[in-house]
Amino acid sequence: MCGIAGVVSGQPIEDRLYEGIHHLEYRGYDSCGVAFHNQGHIEIRKNVGTVDEVHGKENLRKIASHVGIAHTRWATHGRVTRDNAHPHHSPSGEFVIVHNGIIANYKPLRAGLIEAGGEFVSETDTEVIAHLLEGQYRKLGDVERAWVATLRLLEGSYALAMISVHDRERIYCARHESPLIIGVGSGSNYVGSDFNAFIEYTKNTVILDDGEYGTVTKDSYSVKSLKTGDPVAKTITVVPWDPELSGKSGYPHYMLKEIHEQPQAIRRALHIGEDEIDAVAEMIAAARRVSFMGVGTTYYVAMYGQYIFAELAQTEVAVVSSDEFRHLDLTDENSVVLAVSQSGETYDTIMSLRHAQARGAKTVAIVNVIGSSMARLVDRVILQGSGPEVCVVSTKAGLVQMVLLTRLAIAVGVRRGVVSAVAKREFDDALASLPELIESILNERSGVIRAAAYGHAKKDHWLFLGRGIYYPIALEAALKMKEVTYVHAEGMAAGFLKHGTLSLIDDRFNTLVFVPPAEQANLHVATTSSAEEVKARGGFVLGYTFDRDEDLYDEKVVFPAAHPLVAPFLPLVGAQLLAYFTATALKRNVDKPRSLAKSVTVA
């Protein structure tokens, strides 16, 4: 997702482009830039970083020009570099473009342009549009006709804004499957990805529909159909609006938004190239000692990795919480240390990585934030591309990290000869089925989980039990519950229960049991017998199960049948929802629980 802003005004732009992309930062913030007319040419200022960081380097404010466009970017693929940042210009610099979306046919278009002698500065699909536009202008001699001819060549999704030295009065814009609107002010008009782009200046907007393009001057606008070229009648929509909700895209909380974004985030993680995964697998397969580390959610993610590596790759992995790593660090030059972090800025993890590096270990990190300290520090990084995670309580980032560790385990297993080609295909298919399975939980189990959450919101204690790979799931689920609801929840290996904790169980104590599918017979039987131990002491048991006929539990949520490789993800999503709905039932501050910070960058 990226954000677009543009201003055409009778007055100097001053800070309006800066303000526009600043308000759009929730759509992405790894690089940004502005472009505006300056003495006969178009000046572009762009760089890598947040809007404020780029302003510090390039000065995005106090712009004297009257017409300009701006962009803030969140790369899901490809690198974050100054060259790849928007705006992009045509070879002569006469046309400058910002773009949100993906041009599906950019490869053949780019190949054609290169064949004709074109040279590209960036790796983006956007620059292709700028080249095409300049070519069309040379042929047609008219900016609007060239704009239309160019748009007709494009397939895929786009929201575009463009300025040209051949028409200094206008911003040209277009929409197809990515949002774009025009803001109608007095003496100034605007374009933007959404109302945030110009919210301080006008609430009057004209909404472009798919397949429409527009031209905007300081005191007029026109919208036409790309197909017919005919003007489209547009009415101004006045949008009353609450800045507090900006960025939640229709969700009540970022936490629910991010839970619902998981299918898409997993799809993106499955598109990360095999070569990128295999490069890390090669390091791990060659190492004598392998350690995974994280802290909080990412510690449990690492622990999940430990189980999946034992199972698939037959590789022993030491898992250490980042804050304890230094006290246990026996790594050497034959070691690989893999760290997991959403922000890539976690203080304990960075310190531990440095410690390991000093002892000669090779380091790897799985991180979500491109360009973060950790991404720069380690020998190899896997960027998970999950999009911004705003809620302090991690959901999608952690889940995607688990998917990536699964992919790594398969790759190491292949290298070690313990995962056959047939088995790899089976595992890949299982992973590919995961997004849809999670969607079915969100669509078909949210109701029953919410009813359970509201029904038990007043309980003071939860015990979350799991065995095998469901043990780290239980731990992570309990952490979700604690963080966001402030209700005491303890994750525990189910076999551990009778060695002490069982004495806590009475009718005031709720237990959630993560029951594996029946086809994993040993694990299944052992887990259900733990549930029976709790029931025998009068404890309430909520079963997260795959078996609709099991009547052992006081209440149950039945998850859809799934391959054992991906089955553990499903009750974890169910546990995220249980924590979320319990928090809303208790009216907690869901996105910013008390005492917690998103990224712990201190010791």
Partner: protein
């Protein structure tokens, strides 16, 4: 942005109230459903409202007029005899300009907080058609399931399987383009309209997580009243109310101007006393009692979890619990609403000749507008009294279980 509020539905299950008033003028927590919706829209900056009315729509028209008292501009369109949402929408077709977006509101929905800022924010994010969706609480077969992919609505399943009940449903609030009217004309019913919206424009969901109740059955009024009152956090007494000595006020009690609370009365919140009411000596007004304007509560009356629409006279030493009383209902002294079965089994209600399970262990009576009940009457749990009924003194009304 303008809004279109539909209030013309027949409300066939909302007996005995729908015979004399539109659903939207049912009262909860001291205000009608419609007044609440209009207030929320106004707070969100939406002030140009068209209300589609059906039978008894003049009640709304007379009550709200041009809307100046509420700070909005109201206009009305009459749908005549109700025959579905599609027909209701078409009744307002000429009030909107092509190329516009409008907010569409089903008038029988109650939310615990203002849903429109979030709905408009969703519209801001997608600048395309938006439908509010929510999880309706305990699983019910009343609604179809909405399927989401991210926020995109991919399909609406009208008859979900047993284990899929209670998932996301349409919450009765939308932001839609005026193309809606054309779609309704060509498609005919709402199911087809939504399918076409999804196919042609894409339909995005705005997920509503706070309280939501679709008032369909008479006991939904009690649930909605509770839901709204649960959001009250403080007591509020008008400066124009008279509170005599030795009155106890505990918890969030709201008392409007012109009311007179006599000595010895105990009010335990959340509860509501509308304007110009008289609360008699030694009465007990406790949790979730909502007394509409111009009512008289006699000496020693106990009221709990009940909604009185207004202009009622409750005779001395009566008990009204878990009941809904329409406007102008009078009871003689010593009237008792029985509100539970002796074996504590859930109470059934006779809805249009059919015994309907409510699942509620405590439920009193539903008494239509302008019913007059004589002294010393006992009303069985789950009784329904049609509007205008006159019950003589000393009669015992039998319920469906007797």
């Amino acid at each position: 942005m303008k809004a279109l509020i539909l209030t013309g539905g027949a409300g066939r299950n909302l007996v005995p109230f729908s015979a004399t008033r539109p659903k939207a003028s049912v009262m909860v927590a001291g205000g009608s459903l419609l007044r609440r919706s209009i207030g929320h829209l106004r707070e969100a900056g939406v002030t140009d409202l068209t209300i589609v009315t059906g039978p008894n729509g003049d009640k709304i028209h007379r009550g709200f007029g041009e809307g100046s008292e509420l700070g909005v501009n109201l206009s009305y369109a009459d749908q005549g005899q109700p025959s579905g949402i599609a027909q209701a929408i078409l009744a307002a077709k000429d009030r909107f300009n092509p190329g516009e977006y409008l907010i569409l509101v089903y008038g029988d929905v109650v939310t615990s907080a203002n849903p429109y800022p979030q709905l408009l924010q969703s519209f801001n994010s997608f600048t395309g058609p938006i439908a509010a969706v929510c999880l309706p609480g305990p699983p019910t077969a009343r609604y179809g399931n909405v399927y989401l992919s991210g926020t995109r609505i991919t399909r609406i399943v009208e008859k979900p399987t047993e284990e899929n009940l209670g998932n996301y449903v349409l919450a009765g609030m939308f932001v839609l383009p005026t193309d809606l009217f054309g779609l309704v004309e060509s498609a005919g019913d709402m199911e087809a309209v939504f399918a076409q919206l999804m196919a042609k424009f894409g339909l995005h969901a705005s997920i509503w997580e706070s309280g939501w109740i679709d008032v369909e059955s008479p006991w939904d009024i009690l649930a909605a009243n509770q839901m709204v009152m649960d959001t009250w956090e403080e007591a509020r007494v008008s400066r124009d109310a008279v509170i005599e000595g030795n009155v106890t006020i505990a918890g969030p009690v709201h008392i409007e101007g012109g009311s007179h609370v006599k000595s010895g009365a105990v009010l335990v919140g959340p509860c509501y006393v509308g304007r110009d009411c008289y609360i008699g000596n030694n009465s007990l007004i406790r949790n979730y009692a909502s007394i509409g304007p111009e009512s008289t509560i006699g000496y020693g009356v106990e009221l709990k979890n009940s909604v009185l629409f207004g202009r009622s006279d409750i005779g001395r030493l009566s008990f009204v619990g878990d009941s809904v009383l329409g406007e102008g209902v009078d009871t003689g002294s010593n009237t008792v609403t029985i509100n539970e079965n002796l074996d504590h089994s859930p109470i059934s209600v006779d809805l249009r000749g059919e015994s309907t399970r409510t699942g509620l262990k405590k439920l009193g009576s539903f008494i239509g507008d302008d019913v007059k009940i004589g002294a010393s009457n006992t009303l069985a749990a789950g009784s329904i009294l049609e509007p205008g009924t006159i019950v003589p003194h000393n009669a015992t009304l039998r319920g469906p279980r007797d």
